[in-house]
């Protein structure tokens, strides 16, 4: 029983990160209908910048973390302006491919500038594990789950209730009409990208004390977060987070119950199964409108 609990804790921890990445995907998708494949790289950047600020510059941890999130948000903003902002044909398909290029550029730049060796961050409140009904939980895991849930709630609230959130969803539903209604679509697109980058950075800084970070970390995390977003229903923030948790737990259970070498395959297997059974995702709509658009 404690074994199962241990696996669950492990799964929920990494699942929260997948959930955050998925929320980042939703943010950009809900505003522009584009799937931002550079989302994983923002996670990696968050961890990298924080690690450099903390150990390289020697800044105190909270300062380093804030700096990392702020910097990566700025990078997201600039990246959007230089890619989406400059594209003469802002069609969804084109922009998706642009984000793939962006991801590769970021990864390569980090490899050149930071080298290949992984970097680590000190745990926020120490590493002494707590005992939870026989299973051991590191304080950092609590930070991860807690911060992720907070971000998810904040983003969900923002998207559903605030005027800007509604404007973003309008822009995604029909860019032309929204623009005619006075909604600043271009600015919202930049805003969503920047916020998604910030969310990614938060994910990066909270998980790095547990997993370390390196220039390669972003790719797989991005792909798995993408799977999570699809599993939960692309566009629904709560669904995306749920998808992440499900994915994390499935991975941990798979590894814990025998197939430890195939851990990475679990995400993609789940994706295939879900797309066959319920293509709109767990909490998504009927999906008809999406298919028409694409």
């Amino acid at each position: 029983m404690t074994e199962l609990l241990q696996l669950l804790i492990s799964g929920l921890t990494i699942g929260s990160i997948y959930g955050l990445v998925a929320v980042g995907f939703c943010m950009v998708y809900n505003t522009t209908e584009v799937i931002n494949f550079a989302q994983g790289e923002f996670v990696m950047l968050g961890g990298m910048v924080a690690a450099t600020a903390a150990s390289g510059f020697g800044w105190p941890l909270p300062v380093a973390l804030l700096f990392a999130v702020a910097t990566v948000t700025l990078i997201g903003l600039v990246a959007e302006k230089l890619t989406f902002g400059l594209s003469r044909k802002p069609e969804v398909m084109n922009l998706i491919i642009v984000t793939i290029g962006l991801a590769i550029v970021i990864k390569g730049a980090v490899m050149m500038l930071w080298g290949k060796f992984p970097k680590d961050l000190k745990a926020f409140s120490g590493e002494v594990p707590l005992n939870l009904l026989g299973a051991s939980v590191t304080p950092q895991a609590l930070w991860v789950v807690g911060a992720s849930v907070l971000v998810m709630v904040a983003v969900g609230f923002f998207m559903k209730r605030s005027a800007t959130g509604m404007a973003m969803r309008a822009a995604a539903a029909d860019r032309g009409t929204a623009a005619l209604m006075g909604i600043p679509v271009a600015r919202l697109s930049t805003f969503s990208f920047a916020v998604a980058a910030g969310i990614g950075a938060i994910a990066g800084v909270i998980i790095t004390p547990l997993t370390m970070t390196s220039y390669e970390q972003g790719t797989l995390i991005g792909l798995k977060g993408f799977c999570a977003a699809i599993i939960g229903g692309m566009g629904n923030v709560y669904g995306a987070f749920l998808g992440g948790l499900i994915l994390g737990v499935a991975e941990a259970l798979a590894a814990g119950l025998g197939a430890s070498g195939y851990q990475d395959a679990v995400a993609f297997l789940l994706l295939i199964v879900l797309l066959l059974v319920r293509p709109s995702g767990l909490l998504g709509g009927t999906g008809r409108e999406r298919i028409v658009k694409l």
Partner: protein, 391 residues
């Protein structure tokens, strides 16, 4: 009539000049040593260390006048820890660059194993600095493949020696799914029963894994006395951290792919007391003066420090010995005939940084089990636990 004769003479003259030119070029043609390293991807850390040492050695030997009076040219390609890329790069080295010998097979066993059949098929001598025993065995399929150091068979054997010396009988193995990890896993499966070692748990992980709690939970339930982790990837750091987080008290061990101080530092307190099986190099300064490798080790360290300002590590040392093998074979063969170079390799006997090398037509790896040492990471440095048995 005269025009025709003149034209013929001119043509003949040009042809002779060209032939002469080719002969001249052949005479000044450098020895070409090809090297495949993983400079990106999971094996990147080791690859970088090998590259700097290889470049240093080639530069050094060219300063001294080259081999047999000929300069040496080093051609390095990045296989990015990917088998497909390694295969493509090897074909390029052989057919496009026309190298005389290959020293360095991807610094990952999986890549070396994929490169071997290409070297064998094309008749190009290949010196591998990688771990898996399959690289030089079976000998009838490995005529052109050589190894610069131990195979995992010897290292696992030495780990078993260590366990026996401590009275440990129950162990667990946590290996990665790469060629390096699976080869070691197979070796332990083979050797454990005969040595009276009971492996109570076999777990695996992908090279990019950043959470090993599920595997360790299962291992904990099986209650081993020691856990042997086998990888070169950063996941090995997660192994140590997770194990201590779970409150596990077993001896944590790593294979000879993990002798990297930075990895130990990243694991923080969790790496204190981690036991590793390794080649001599990291504890070179702790060796007895009577050990003949000590002088070679100190010399190499000084050379590296003078050029790069930092001390090399055991992976650089492996590349050093691998390059030394290439140099000595080329010198002894004194020919571009690859078969002569191959035969020279089979007769090699020399003292490298990692032991006393002795090759033979039946044995294409130069070291023995006694060249492996067991050491632990204590207070920021390696400490020798079980020394080498010198020949």
């Amino acid at each position: 009539m005269v025009h025709r004769a003149l034209k013929l003479a001119a043509a003949a003259g040009v042809a002779l000049l060209m032939a002469g030119g080719v002969a001249l070029a052949q005479d000044a043609r450098p020895y070409k040593i090809g090297s495949i390293l993983s400079l990106t991807g999971g094996g990147a850390l080791l690859g970088e260390r090998m590259k700097t040492t290889q470049e240093m050695m080639v530069e050094d030997i060219n300063k001294k006048g080259g081999i047999n009076g000929r300069p040496v040219k080093l051609i390095i390609y990045d296989a990015a820890s990917d088998v497909t890329k390694a295969v493509a790069a090897t074909n390029r080295l052989i057919s496009q660059d026309e190298v005389d010998i290959i020293s360095g097979a991807g610094n990952m066993s999986g890549l070396a194993l994929a490169m071997k059949p290409i070297a064998v098929r094309n008749g190009v001598p290949m010196i591998s600095n990688e771990g898996a025993s399959g690289i030089v065995e079976p000998i009838d399929k490995s005529a052109w493949a050589f190894k610069s150091h131990l195979t995992d068979r010897e290292v696992i054997g030495r780990a078993i020696d260590y366990w026996k010396s401590k009275g440990i009988t129950k162990v667990a193995m946590l290996s990665d799914t790469s060629g390096f990890g699976t080869s070691a896993r197979d070796e332990l499966k083979l050797q454990a029963p005969g040595a009276g070692i009971n492996v109570v748990s076999w777990e695996e992980f992908d090279m990019g894994a950043n959470d090993l709690v599920p595997q360790l939970t299962r291992i904990r339930a099986a209650n081993p006395e020691a856990i042997l982790c086998w990888t070169v990837a950063p996941s090995g750091v997660v192994f140590m951290k997770n194990a201590r987080q779970l409150g596990m008290k077993q001896i944590l061990m790593h294979g000879f792919g993990y002798v990297v101080p930075k990895y130990m530092e990243m694991a923080g307190e969790a790496s204190e007391g981690t036991v590793l099986v390794s080649l001599r190099f990291p504890v070179g300064k702790q060796l007895h003066d009577s050990d003949p490798t000590k002088k070679v080790i100190l010399n190499y360290i000084a050379q590296h420090k003078a050029k790069y300002g930092s001390e090399p590590d055991v992976y650089g040392a492996e590349a050093y010995d691998g390059m030394l093998m290439a140099f000595k074979a080329l010198e002894a063969a004194n020919s571009f005939d690859k078969e002569k170079i191959r035969q020279a390799l089979e007769k090699l006997q020399f003292i490298g940084t990692n032991g006393l090398y002795k090759f033979s037509p039946q044995k294409h790896y130069g070291l023995t089990k006694g060249d492996a040492v067991v050491m632990e990471w204590r207070k920021g440095d390696w400490r020798l636990l079980m020394g080498a048995e010198t020949k």
